[in-house]
Amino acid sequence: MEQTATYLVYIPLLPLIGALVVGILHLATCRTNRLPEKLYGILGCIGPVLSFILALRVFFTLKGLAAEERVLTQELFTWFSVGELDVSMGFLADPLSSLMLIFVTLIGSLIHIYSIGYMAEDRNFGKFFAYMNLFLGSMLILVLGAGPVVMFVGWEGVGLCSYLLISYYSEDRDNVIAGNKAFIVNRIGDLGFVLGMSFLFWGIGADGFDFLSLKANAHNLTPALGITVCLLLFVGATGKSAQIPLYVWLPDAMAGPTPVSALIHAATMVTAGVYMVARFSFIYAHAPVAGAVVAWTGILTALLAAVFAMYQRDIKKILAYSTVSQLGYMFAGVGVAAYSAGIFHVFTHAFFKALLFLGAGSVIYALHHQQDIWKMGGLKEKMPITYKTMLIGALALAGCPPFSGFFSKDEILYSALATGHYGIWLVGVGVAAMTAYYTFRMIFVVFHGQPRDREAFNHAHEPSKVMTIPLIILAVGALFAGFLNLPGIFGGDLEVSHWLAPSLVEHHPHTSWFVELLAIIISIGAFALGFRAAYRKFGAGADEPSYTGFKQFGYRKFYVDEIYHYLIVAPYQLTGKAISYFIEPYITDGPVKLTSWLYKMAGAAFKLVQVGYVRVYAIYMVIGLSIMSLLLAQSLNL
């Protein structure tokens, strides 16, 4: 049934080679003579672009096969084999991974190109491209991994790159702390992933620990173990994909350069958790309890992050919370077993969110690293391409028909409704209205009205073509991607869902067309409501509001970071101090210290009698002899 494709390995390998070459070049020359940036730029872009071409090849090869035969595999070598455990280094391309491949490599390539412009003045240009290539290679391993362990290689690899790129401007301590936070929080999730994998292995992994074998043996997994595995894996997903309670690292991750935020912390890496749940749909589909946990966690995260997004003033933070919120939608989708709907939202979101971030990057770049929206304003005339493309992205994010986000989000909400998850649907509709509000709050404040910082405004200008062309391409994606998966009511046939079907275990719910239509109308209503509120408040330009009351509470993100700090971080540090200054020297080491102290004391006691005078020793001798004589006399009964 499955075919081998020997070129799969090159998809992740090419960017990895790029990382190695660029990295070594940078390392060899950074201290002395710097190489021209163009060279790094070109070297850095070769890998991603070639991977994109190979991704297309994978797609068309799969398309040429019958639906149920759409599986390409490649086994490179036995990675490690111990007892029943046999893990091979192998790759798997099926409809699900091919969809991921295409947008990851396409958006990856575009952002690499954009970075040539954005990072032009950076002195570590080579290092940046080495990290970006390393990231892309890891992400492609994650997507293509034939089994959970290979997937985990990519999973942790992207985490490492995320850390390196968040801490990129490492002279500033706060950036490094943000990087550390991302790595550590992700590690908490990874613990879940590792344990989930281990349970899965002892459940059904002995007959092959790759996705195809696991899928074939999934029926042997006992329901309780299935739920355990699903929940543990989902812990991993909450880390990587920034869901409650582990979402806190993502907003801080905005400390990295903006192209990084666009690629890693919006379009690709953070959606890995959704991809993983979809990849394991053969287990999740049989564990509806775990699915409900996933869905509710997702939709509540969507709600919470949307509230935060409404009160942020840093343009990247707004977009970051918006990402968290949209990821919540995706989990709501895969949680109600609408895996294809979740993945389709991953797909469209990648375009419009990458677009919004890159657009924000252009604005930040033009204003010399100003990120506060209340220092912007009126940029519409100065930066028409950025404005128009960002507007398309905003409409897609806010769920305005016929932009891509509308269709993908609607599919999720409809799935929730059709499977009877009314609560999730209701919250989802509310979040949709909030999304429209915070998105257009951002657009209006940044681009409309009067400039708030005249000096910066005068210097602002549209960036060069190397930055605007990727924006335009992404805008086309954000505008039209939704048409790839039109539901029947709009004359489509859910093509993407059908494409994904062989990779997933899902049943499409059916309701009457009336319910479907009603859901759509309510979704549009939610958009209109949010948009109208934003327009009335900010449409004509608004003054910076004072942050008091609930606004302040929302702006400070309900003080969750502070709560985590005082409940977890500070006690942890305190424990370390307590052990090293008190417990270790006085308690754990106590017996040893006591022993040596007793020796010393014994020595001191003996020292008292060992005075060194012959006459004293003579007295000892007399005393000793007397005692001995007495004892002797006693024992002889004299």
Binding site: M89, I184, G576
Partner: protein, 510 residues
């Protein structure tokens, strides 16, 4: 004649070391001799590694000369899958020490030579008495190195490690004597050969005492909580070479000795106390890992980090399944390479900037990118990042622990989190942030230093991507070992199995 290859690897370094003490040689000459000998040992060990088959789970390159016939003590050596990787760690890593640190006394190099030979001897000895002899011989150079060439508080550190070690050695000696007597009582013959001793299974209260004696001796060396308190002082005060030997290799010989000598003979003890010992490993891992966070002295931080990782490695022994045991044996080398490189690089920092205080450092990555890259790779291996050698072992241990005991497994897994906390914070303060006066002039690795460390860095990555060539040499022995233990201890296996199965029982009630 492959039979004497082990003897050569043992006695060439030891005799060279002794000879160096006698002849009036200069520092440079001593270093040169040490380097040549260590390279010879590396070459021999590579030859041994590639001709080692491992398929049969028996001793290869065996050599046996009776020493004291009346007591059945013999000079018997051999390598099997259990000892192979420990041996490789002891044999291959030494040239780095000679190449990186130049300005040391003659005696320093002489002690290094002796300790290497003795460690190889301890790893290869298949006679318990012979093992004991090598074990004692390998400890002496460490006392000397700390006592003579250590830091300002070296005397206190030496005293502490001496008290600890002598206590452990005496307990071990008593236990070895007991085992000999017990064997004599069971068979009417004297023997200390592991091949014979492994045939018997000891039980009863005296056996438990002997088991505890052995375990304490090795727990001190590994170190297992709460017998670790000598370690931070000793590691910190020791000169870099001795710290390297202690952390990268000698600790692993403790691990190895438990697997080789304790598990086969004391099946009952392992069954009864395995869980307790696993908890000691877990507590040690968390305790030392949390403590590492609070350290201001870079070396002390790495010392606690090393102790924390040794806890995880030890857990793999007590889980008694082939995955966990293989993980432990693999992690022995993975940890030796990563922690070894970390201590060596720290030694370079100490030499060039004359400080180990983390707060005094900063921005090293900008001044020394190659240095920073090497350090980062070793650090990532230490925290078990996939793609480095550290992941394979840790993953296998956690996977095996899930079968053994779920609580142990979850707690073991927290090493993923504990490790990154202190490592990243240290990395931030040492390599990132801003330069200061001290780090402003920090020189990157020279070409020779780069070429010295590069092979190990490549090995760390190679072992993460291609572990199977190593693993296939050790799994047959590990399988044999666990199977024999399970046969000897009978019911314990079923107990362990049940823990995973309990979950499936529950669902049937649902």
């Amino acid at each position: 004649m492959p039979d004497i290859i082990l003897s050569i690897m043992i006695f060439v370094p030891i005799s060279t070391g002794l000879l160096l003490l006698l002849v009036p040689a200069g520092k440079e000459a001593a270093r040169g001799v040490g380097l040549v000998v260590s390279v010879i040992v590396v070459l021999l060990s590579l030859k041994l590694f590639f001709s080692f088959s491992g398929a049969a789970a028996t001793f290869e390159f065996a050599q046996k000369i009776p020493l004291i016939d009346s007591l059945g003590i013999s000079y018997s050596l051999g390598v099997d899958g259990i000892s192979l990787l420990v041996l490789m760690a002891a044999a291959t890593l030494f040239p780095m020490v000679y190449l990186l640190f130049k300005s040391r006394e003659k005696g320093y190099y002489s002690n290094l030579l002796i300790v290497q030979g003795a460690m190889i001897g301890a790893v290869c000895a298949s006679d318990m008495v012979l093992f004991y002899i090598f074990w004692e011989v390998m400890l002496l150079p460490i006392f000397f190195m700390i006592g003579f060439y250590g830091g300002p508080n070296r005397l206190a550190a030496t005293l502490k490690i001496t008290i600890y070690t002598i206590a452990g050695s005496l307990l071990m000696l008593a236990s070895i004597a007991y085992i000999g007597v017990a064997y004599h009582a069971q068979t009417g013959q004297w023997s200390f050969d592991m091949a014979n001793l492994a045939q018997m299974s000891l039980s009863g209260s005296t056996a438990t005492l002997a088991f505890i004696g052995f375990m304490i001796a090795f727990a001190i060396k590994i170190p297992l909580f709460p017998f670790h308190t000598w370690l931070p002082d000793a590691y910190t005060e020791a000169p870099t070479g001795a710290t390297f030997v202690l952390s990268a290799i000698m600790a692993k010989i403790g691990i190895y000795a438990v697997i080789r000598f304790v598990v086969p003979v004391f099946a009952e003890g392992m069954t009864n106390y395995g869980l307790l010992l696993a908890y000691a490993g877990v507590i040690g891992m968390i305790y030392c890992g949390v403590t590492a966070l609070a350290q201001k002295d870079f070396k002390r931080m790495l010392a606690f980090s090393s102790a924390s990782h040794m806890g995880v490695i030890a857990i793999g022994i007590f889980c008694m399944n082939v995955q966990a045991l293989t993980g432990t044996l693999y992690q022995v080398v993975a940890h030796a390479t990563s922690t070894g490189v970390l201590f060596l690089l720290l030694g370079i920092i100490e030499e060039r900037m004359e400080t180990r205080n983390i707060e005094d450092l900063g921005g090293v990555a900008y001044k020394a990118p190659v240095f920073a890259l090497f350090f980062a790779v070793a650090m990532l291996a230490s925290v078990g990042l996939p793609g480095t050698s550290g992941f394979i072992g840790e993953f296998l241990i956690i996977l095996g622990a899930v079968k053994f005991n779920v609580t142990i497994a979850v707690l073991t897994g927290t090493t993923l989190i504990v490790g990154v906390c202190y490592m990243l914070w240290m990395f931030q303060r040492v390599f990132f942030e801003k330069n200061n006066q001290k780090t402003e002039t920090f020189q990157d690795l020279t070409l020779i230093e780069t070429l010295t460390i590069l092979p190990i860095i490549i090995l760390i990555i190679f072992m993460g991507i291609f572990p199977q060539p190593f693993i296939q040499k050790i799994t047959p022995a590990a399988e044999h070992h666990t199977a024999r233990h399970q046969a000897a201890s009978g019911s314990s296996v079923h107990l362990a199995d049940n823990r995973v199965l309990q979950i499936s029982d529950k669902q049937e009630k649902d």
